[in-house]
C-alpha cells in the first residue's frame, strides 16, 4: 500500500485554503476576525450576480451617424456666426445630407469671401456638385467623420461614468464592448427607471431666442394636451419662416395634474450651449419649488452677458433635448455668469437635471439594445429558493448514499462536503460572480460528485465478489474505475468549456461552477476518499468492508 502521509497533508492544505478563501464571502464571521488577520487574508469573496442581488444590466449603442450629424450642425451654427460677424450676407447655410453643407447666397461675387471663411474649417472639403453660381456645397472629410465616430463612443463612456458616479451606485461597471457598444451594470439599484433615464438622456442644453414677431402670424394654439404635438407641427409646416422651428414647453396643470404642452416659435440659431457650464446645483425658490441654478465658465459668462445685453425685453428659451424648460423675458443684461433653469419639476427631477448638466451632454443619442432589470425582491427570493433546493438536494443524496453504501456511503458524503467546500473556496478565490444558473451548477455538481464514488464503490463490490481481500479490492476498485472516471469527466468538461467561451452573463456563471466542480470532483474522488480508505486499512485490520 502507498504511503498516506503526503496525500493527507495535501488534503488538509486544500481544506485550509478553501476555508481561508471562502471566509470573506461569509461576512458575519469575516468581520469578527482580528484586524491583523484580515490584513493578511484575501478580502474579496464571491460577488452575487445581478439576478441574485437585483440591479440593471444595459447594453447600449451610440448612434454614430447621428453624432456626425450633430457635429456638422454645430459647425453650421458657428459658420453662421462667422458670416454675421464678417457681415457677409449669405442667404442660408443648411445641412443637405448627413455630412453635407450647402450655402446659398444672392450675390455671386461673395463666393471668394465665403470660401475664405470656410477655409478656417479644414474639416470640410468643397465639392463640385454646386450646379449654380449662387451656391456652394461642402462635404465633411471622411477621416473627420471617422474621428467623430471614434471619439463619440469614448465621450459617451466618459459622460455616463460621470453621471453614474454622481448618482451614487455601490459597484458600477461601465465598459466598452466591441466597437460601438457600451455595457453598464448597476447592481442593487433601487430605482431602475430613474437610473436608466439618467444614463440615456442626451442632455444637450441650448439657449435659443423666441421669434416673437412671427409667432402671431402662425396663430399657434396656446396650450395643447400631451401627445398632440404632431398635429400642431403639421398645421404650421407650410407657414414656418426660414430658420425657425417649433418647440414645446412641458407643463403640468396644478389643479387637474394633467400634462400639457405650449408651442413656441423658436429661432434655430443656437445662442449658447451647455458646453460652457462649470457647475449646476439645485436650489429652492420662494414657493418651495426647486430649480437648477447654473454657473457658466469665464468665456460662457462673457458670452451670456453679451447675448442678454443685446436682447433686452426679448424672450429666450432654455432648451434641453429639444424641450423648452422655460422661456423667460430678459429683463436686463445678466452679469456674473449665472442663470436659472426653472420649470415644473419635482425635487428629484431637478436633482437629476443638475447631475446630467454637470456631467455634460452625450455626443449622440444612445440606443438601448439590451435591458435586464431585476428587482431586489426577486433576487432575494431566488437566493432563498436556490439555497433551499441545494439543501434538499444535498440531504437526499447524502441519505441515499448512506442507505445504499453504509459506511462507505458516509465516506462518499464526506467527499461531497469536501467538494462543496472546495468549490466555494475556489469561486471565492477567483472572485467569481454567482448567478442563479451558477447555483444550479453547484447543485448539479453535488449530484455528479457522488457519481465517481458510485463507480468506484461498484468496482470494489465486484472485486469483493471475486473473493479478494478488502485492501486489494479497494486498490483494484480505484485503479479500474480511474480511466472511466477521467473519461466521463472530460466529456462534461468539454461542454463546460464551450459554454464558458461562448456564453454570456449568467451562462458563464454556470459554466464556471460546472468546470470547477468537475475538476474538484476528480480530486476529492480519487484522492480524498482514497486517503480515508487507506487510513482505515492502516489503523485497523479491516476484514469486512461496509459497502
Amino acid at each position: 500500500m502507498k504511503r498516506v502521509g503526503g496525500r493527507l497533508a495535501l488534503l488538509v492544505l486544500v481544506v485550509l485554503l478553501s476555508v481561508i478563501f471562502f471566509l470573506p464571502t461569509y461576512q458575519p464571521v469575516y468581520q469578527a476576525l482580528p484586524g491583523w488577520l484580515k490584513t493578511v487574508m484575501p478580502n474579496k469573496g464571491i460577488t452575487l450576480g445581478l439576478d441574485l442581488q437585483g440591479g440593471i444590466h444595459l447594453v447600449m449603442e451610440v448612434d454614430e451617424d447621428r453624432a456626425v450629424e450633430i457635429a456638422v450642425d454645430r459647425s453650421i451654427v458657428s459658420l453662421q456666426d462667422g458670416f454675421i460677424d464678417k457681415k457677409i450676407p449669405v442667404e442660408s447655410v443648411t445641412r443637405t445630407g448627413p455630412t453635407q453643407v450647402t450655402i446659398q447666397f444672392q450675390n455671386a461675387e461673395l463666393k471668394a469671401q465665403i470660401q475664405k471663411t470656410i477655409d478656417d474649417y479644414p474639416i470640410f472639403s468643397e465639392t463640385e456638385t454646386a450646379g449654380s453660381v449662387n451656391r456652394l456645397v461642402w462635404e465633411l472629410r471622411e477621416a473627420e467623420a471617422k474621428r467623430i465616430k471614434d471619439s463619440a463612443i469614448n465621450q459617451a463612456l466618459e459622460t455616463i461614468r460621470n453621471r453614474i458616479d454622481q448618482f451614487g451606485v455601490a459597484e458600477p461597471m461601465v465598459q466598452r464592448q466591441g466597437l460601438k457598444q457600451i455595457v453598464v451594470q448597476l447592481p442593487g439599484v433601487k430605482e431602475p427607471k430613474r437610473a436608466r433615464d439618467l444614463i440615456k438622456e442626451t442632455a444637450l442644453l441650448e439657449f435659443k431666442m423666441l421669434d416673437e414677431d412671427n409667432q402671431a402670424k402662425l396663430d399657434l394654439p396656446a396650450r395643447i394636451p400631451k401627445d398632440r404635438e404632431a398635429e400642431v407641427l403639421k398645421q404650421a409646416e407650410a407657414k414656418l419662416p426660414e430658420g425657425d422651428q417649433i418647440l414645446f414647453e412641458r407643463g403640468v396643470d396644478k389643479d387637474t395634474g394633467q400634462e400639457y404642452r405650449i408651442p413656441y416659435l423658436v429661432k434655430k440659431r443656437v445662442m449658447l450651449t451647455g458646453d460652457v457650464l462649470s457647475d449646476a446645483r439645485v436650489s429652492i425658490g420662494q414657493f418651495n419649488d426647486p430649480y437648477v441654478s447654473i454657473t457658466f465658465d469665464g468665456k460662457g459668462g462673457r458670452e451670456f452677458e453679451r447675448i442678454t445685453g443685446d436682447n433686452i425685453k426679448k424672450r429666450m428659451a432654455v432648451v434641453l433635448d429639444n424641450t423648452i424648460y422655460s422661456a423667460p423675458v430678459i429683463q436686463d443684461r445678466i452679469t456674473g455668469g449665472r442663470a436659472q433653469i426653472t420649470g415644473t419639476f419635482s425635487m428629484q427631477e431637478a436633482n437629476d437635471l443638475a447631475i446630467v448638466l454637470r456631467a455634460g451632454a452625450l455626443p449622440a443619442p444612445l440606443k438601448i439594445i439590451q435591458d435586464l432589470t431585476v428587482g431586489p425582491s426577486l433576487g432575494k427570493d431566488s437566493i432563498e429558493k436556490g439555497v433551499q433546493a441545494t439543501l434538499a438536494a444535498g440531504a437526499l443524496v447524502v441519505l441515499f448514499m448512506i442507505v445504499y453504501y453504509r459506511m462507505s456511503g458516509v465516506i462518499a458524503d464526506f467527499a461531497l462536503m469536501l467538494n462543496l467546500l472546495c468549490l466555494m473556496g475556489a469561486l471565492s478565490a477567483l472572485n467569481a460572480t454567482l448567478t442563479l444558473p451558477g447555483i444550479a451548477g453547484i447543485v448539479l455538481t453535488i449530484g455528479m460528485g457522488v457519481d465517481s464514488n458510485v463507480l468506484i464503490f461498484e468496482r470494489i463490490r465486484e472485486e469483493l465478489r471475486l473473493g479478494k481481500g478488502v485492501r486489494l479490492a479497494v486498490d483494484g476498485g480505484y485503479d479500474k474505475a480511474l480511466l472511466t472516471i477521467v473519461d466521463s469527466h472530460v466529456t462534461t468538461l468539454i461542454t463546460g468549456m464551450a459554454l464558458f467561451l461562448f456564453g454570456t452573463g449568467p451562462i458563464k456563471g454556470f459554466a464556471v461552477t460546472l468546470c470547477l466542480g468537475i475538476g474538484i470532483n476528480l480530486f476529492t474522488a480519487l484522492i480524498g476518499t482514497k486517503v480515508i480508505f487507506d487510513l482505515l486499512n492502516q489503523r485497523h485490520k479491516v476484514t469486512q468492508l461496509s459497502i
Binding site: P192, G375, S377, L378, Q388, V443
Partner: protein
C-alpha cells in the same frame, strides 16, 4: 450489501427494434423542432428572438383572462401571459414585433398601474432585448453546440475506436433531440437557459455511455468465443446497477431544483431531468446496439491489440 438490482441477465440487444422505433420517433420530433427553430416559428425565448418580458408580483390574485383583456384594450394584444399560482406573480412576454425604443416594459407597467389601481404590484424583473443581440446569441449558441459536439466525438474516438465515438455522439444527439422534441411538443419556451441545459446534458449523457462502453471494450478484449450481441448484453448487465445509481443521484438533486428552485430554474432543471433519463436509456438502448451495425476493421468488433 444493499443492491437495487441483483445479478441481471436481460436481453437488451434483443429489444433493440422496439428501442429504435421509440428513439426514431423522438429524433424525428427533435428534427421537426430544429427545423421550426431555424424557420423562426418555434417558441423561441425572447433572449433569442428579441422582445420584452416583465414579471409583476401583485398583492392580490389577478385573473389571467382579465389581465389579457386589459392588455388587449391597450394595444398589447400579442402579449403572452403566464402566472405563477400561489404567489400572485404574472409574467408578461412580448416578442420582438415592437422596437425597444418604445420602452414596451414601461407601457406594460403603466397599463397595469392604471387598470388595476386597487391591486398594488412590484416589478420583479423586466428584460428587453433588441433583435441584434438575439441574432448574436443564436450564433454563439450554435458555435458552442458545434464545438462541444466535435470535441466530444474527437475525445471519445481518441480514447476508444472511431466508431465508438460515432455511436456515442449519435446517442448524445438522440438525447438532445429527444428533449428538444419534448419541449417542442409541450410548446415550452426555448430560452438561453434551456439551450445551456441541453449542452450540459450532452456532456452528462456521455458519462453514462462511457461507463457502458468501457465495460464493452474490456469484455471484448477478454472473451472471444461469444457472439458480439452476447458480449454487449453481458457488459450492460454487469454495469446496469451503477448506470442506474449514478443517474439516480443526479435525478435526486434535480427533483428539488425543478420543484422548488423557482420559476427561473424550473425549465432549466426540467430539461436536465428529462435529459438524464433519456441519457441513461440511450446509453443502454441506443449507443450500445449502434455498435452492432458497424463491425470493426476486420469484421470483428475490436481490433486485436
Amino acid at each position: 450489501m444493499l443492491e437495487i438490482l441483483g445479478k441481471t441477465s436481460i436481453d437488451f440487444m434483443g429489444k433493440r427494434r422496439w428501442a429504435f422505433l421509440f428513439s426514431g420517433v423522438m429524433v424525428v420530433l427533435g428534427m421537426v423542432a430544429l427545423v421550426q427553430i431555424a424557420r423562426g416559428s418555434a417558441n423561441l425565448g425572447i433572449d433569442f428572438a428579441g422582445g420584452t418580458a416583465v414579471q409583476l408580483k401583485f398583492e392580490q390574485a389577478v385573473k389571467i383572462d382579465e389581465a389579457r383583456k386589459v392588455l388587449e384594450a391597450n394595444g398589447l394584444g400579442n402579449a403572452e401571459l403566464q402566472e405563477f399560482g400561489q404567489e400572485n406573480k404574472l409574467l408578461i412576454r412580448l416578442k420582438a414585433s415592437t422596437t425597444i425604443e418604445e420602452k414596451v416594459a414601461d407601457r406594460v407597467v403603466a397599463v397595469f398601474t392604471k387598470e388595476f389601481a386597487s391591486n398594488h404590484f412590484v416589478v420583479e424583473s423586466s428584460t428587453e432585448i433588441g433583435p441584434t443581440i438575439g441574432k448574436k446569441l443564436q450564433g454563439d449558441a450554435l458555435i458552442a453546440i458545434v464545438i462541444s459536439f466535435v470535441g466530444i466525438i474527437l475525445y471519445v474516438a481518441g480514447r476508444f475506436e472511431f466508431r465508438f465515438g460515432i455511436a456515442a455522439a449519435l446517442a448524445t444527439f438522440h438525447d438532445v433531440l429527444a428533449v428538444l422534441g419534448a419541449f417542442y411538443i409541450l410548446d415550452k419556451e426555448i430560452t438561453l437557459l434551456v439551450v445551456t441545459a441541453l449542452l450540459t446534458l450532452a456532456g452528462y449523457s456521455m458519462t453514462d455511455t462511457v461507463v457502458v462502453f468501457d465495460r464493452i471494450r474490456e469484455n471484448l478484449r477478454i472473451r472471444r468465443r461469444e457472439t458480439e450481441e452476447t458480449i454487449i448484453n453481458n457488459a450492460i448487465n454487469q454495469v446496469l446497477s451503477r448506470t442506474i445509481v449514478t443517474s439516480l443521484t443526479v435525478v435526486l438533486v434535480l427533483i428539488p431544483l425543478t420543484i422548488a428552485g423557482g420559476e427561473v430554474l424550473h425549465d432549466f432543471s426540467l430539461a436536465l431531468l428529462w435529459g438524464v433519463i433519456f441519457g441513461t436509456y440511450s446509453s443502454v438502448f441506443v449507443a450500445s446496439p449502434l455498435l452492432l451495425f458497424w463491425p470493426g476493421a476486420s469484421g470483428r468488433l475490436l481490433k486485436r491489440s
